[in-house]
Amino acid sequence: MAFFQMEGVSKRYGGVSALQNASLSVEMGRIHAILGENGAGKSTLIKVMSGVVTPDEGRMIMEGREVQFASPAAANRAGIACIFQELSLLPDLSVADNISISNPPKHFGLIDRKAQRRIAEEALARAGGPDIHPLTLVKDLPLSRRQIVEIAKALARKPRILILDEATSALAAADVEKVYTVLKRLRSERLALLYISHRMQEIAELADDCTVFRNGRNIATYRAGTKSDNEVVELMIGREYSHVFPPKPDVGRQETPILLEASGLSWTSRIKDISFRVRAGEVVGLGGLDGQGQRELLLALFGVLRGLSGEIRIEGKPVSVASPHRAKASDLGMALIPEDRKTEGLMLPMSVRDNLSFAALGRLSHFGVIDRDVENTAVADMIRLLAIRADGTDIPVGSLSGGNQQKVLIAKWLMITPRIILLNDPTRGIDVGTKQEFYKLLRQLADAGRAIIFYSTDYAELIGCCDRVLVLYGGAIKRELVGKEITERALVSSALNIGRQAEEAGEKSVAAR
């Protein structure tokens, strides 16, 4: 008998079936991975498990007894802790407050701050963030640190089942390693772990069991390692799958004109004297550990930062980009796909159409009046181009699955036919199938003469997609990798600023083995 079981669970949202007769069984002391395309119902499944969503039908059995959770608090009491895809931290509260938000230690009926702080320190240490001060406000932490706090918070509840819904999607490789260690230790402490991720290598590294979801159903469950990656992906997307990354064109397009050129860009202490050029048709990656100034660099190019020094030239002409409005103007033609689609990219309650056409309204209108026919055509084109799965264009974009939301965000910017595309970790939370389409699209855009700057926290992407990678460290470019030089090893070592010698030394020692 499994430790925890779900049977025949269904959940509908209006006309959409998020889950249909799904089942799952979870064992103690094992890491159970859940895989599936965007919108397959993974998040809904774990929301049911953790009391956030009440299922329309189906039952849950824990240690042989049937259970029902009316609220997340109830699930918590039963020993289920969940790290949601959308962070559930309270930005204005301190890290310590967040960690023991639901059952703080008490002292005469009041919260015992000393004990709470101790708990927080312990939990942070276990979650791999011993350097986070428990009194910091969560809103003052960068995203990747918040993710650690989120894990610490779940751990502080002493759960028996711990669920991580894309908990690592915002983390850079170094942090991910720490999380692996934590999870493996928890497994050895006989916790049951559910792990959702779109990164195949994470699953290969961690999972004991895997369940694949498609269209709200569990399609297959298997022991990790018994299927090849291709087989798994085919299960997920229900069709054949090959070649994740499209082939890169041969090097030697030095002929193409330089579209974007930055020289001596500096901003506060976050960007230090950055210079580079991007040619039309080139995909230039930004590498390095998270938080080394990559995001700021993109924002700087897009006119968001005040007090930027240095020069930006477009097609050789010096330009001053004072605002995103200026950046998207047709003589500059820049587009930025921001990092956080929920607050920076999309207006979730607004319709798919309104979101898609938002950036391009200027050219879909005459004297400020929107031409609705032109708009509808343009929207339909984009939906087709990116194969966005949506039940009409009138529904709120927030009701799409994460991946489809991301597609809408990309499509929104393609609509202005940009010449320079800045991408800030655009594949976060996108499933493999969509990712593949995205990589193809990226290459198509490049082939059509666009210049692309692509920041990603996923090294595999940088390796697979980019013609060149600029590795940032401490706000400066530490190294430029071109073509075949872009390898995982090179990326990692330059990200850690170990330097070329160390890398070469490493290579030798590998060869020696």
Binding site: T343, E344, G345, M347, D354, G368, I370, R372
Partner: protein
């Protein structure tokens, strides 16, 4: 059923439909008290009076759609009325011509201050509009005390506010129809309108979409100020003169009307049709209560309870999740 009717049904917010249902219910209820409540004369009179609130609520709605609020309505209404009448006597007939635009422009000017502070100085609208309201009041007191202003409204103002046009339709109602039509067009068909809804949902996203969100916010407040002042201009026409306290009775009803009409106070969601329903509801409710012979205490209690009941009927937020 015709395709048109079907598409109409699909597009009408149920909240708005129920709001109109409430209007019918209110009239039915009133007609038990006196059949005059459903006489054309009474209804036209109500619509005429509702027009003033309607115009003011239009501005309030645009600001609410941004997720902001305009508490400077009372004294901007007064500014509109007092400034327009003050200019009437100036170098006649110039003053007569300039009266309405001047009154509205003064409101726009104050609105710009609100908007600038909210958009560029990032001061919460709830407090800056309160402060601007206080400043407007101060200026009007100085104005009244210092300049012995003219306060009789011009012929045009009286004509717009109290005259009747073809078929006995009050001009004020036509003015509201024009303003409402303009607002509907602005909100649903223009880049500005889209941006307003967008900002109400996420200003960050709007800014990063390369839309000058701050300018939009400032313009929206200017519009609201102008509409408040225009409401004041019409009120001055209606009463044939301006007075300091003329806007006091409009702040809370305007907000209540907008929200009763299904617009989310958090911004980003709502239709003008709903605001129309809300304005008529509030006006009718006030009128019916005013004419019924009960103690003021009782009226206030009924007024509050009825608004809550109507909101419970359809104004409920969707559940979290």
């Amino acid at each position: 059923m015709s395709i048109f009717a079907k598409s109409l049904i699909r597009h009408i917010d149920p909240a708005v439909a129920i709001a109109f249902g409430c209007i019918a219910a209110l009239l039915l209820f009133g007609s038990f008290y006196s059949t005059s409540f459903i006489s054309p004369a009474f209804l036209l009179q109500q619509l005429k009076v509702a027009s003033f609130l309607g115009i003011i609520a239009t501005g309030a709605m645009i600001v609410i759609l941004l997720g902001q609020i305009d508490l400077s309505i009372p004294w901007l209404v007064a500014v509109g009325g007092m400034m327009s009448t003050a200019i009437v006597g100036w170098r006649s007939p110039m003053g007569e011509v300039l009266a309405i635009p001047f009154g509205v422009l003064c409101g726009v000017a104050f609105g710009l201050v609100n908007g600038f502070a909210v958009a560029y100085l990032r001061i919460p609208s709830m407090i800056i509009t309160l402060a601007v309201n206080a400043v407007a009041q101060g200026l009007m007191v100085v104005h009244t005390g210092g300049f012995s202003p003219q306060d009789a409204s011009s012929f045009a103002m009286r004509f717009l506010a109290t005259g009747n046009s073809l078929l006995g339709i009050p001009n004020a109602l036509l003015v509201w129809a024009a303003v409402g039509g303009g607002a509907t067009f602005l909100l649903s068909r223009t880049v500005f309108g889209r941006a307003v809804y967008g900002i109400g949902n996420s200003e960050r996203a709007v800014y990063l979409s390369g839309v000058r969100s701050q300018r939009i916010v400032m313009l929206a407040f200017a519009l609201s100020g102008g509409l408040s002042a225009f409401g004041g201009v019409l009120l001055a026409g209606y009463a044939s003169k301006a007075a300091q306290g003329m806007g006091d009775a409009y702040l809370l009803p305007a907000i209540a009307a907008v929200v009763l009409g299904g617009t989310s106070i958090l911004g980003g969601r709502g239709t003008y049709l709903g605001t129309i329903a809300g304005v008529i509801l509030i006006t009718l409710l006030q009128s019916i209560l005013s004419v019924m012979q009960i103690e003021e205490a009782g009226r206030q209690i009924i007024y509050g309870v009825v608004i809550i009941l109507m909101l419970l009927l359809y104004g409920r937020e969707r559940r979290v999740q």
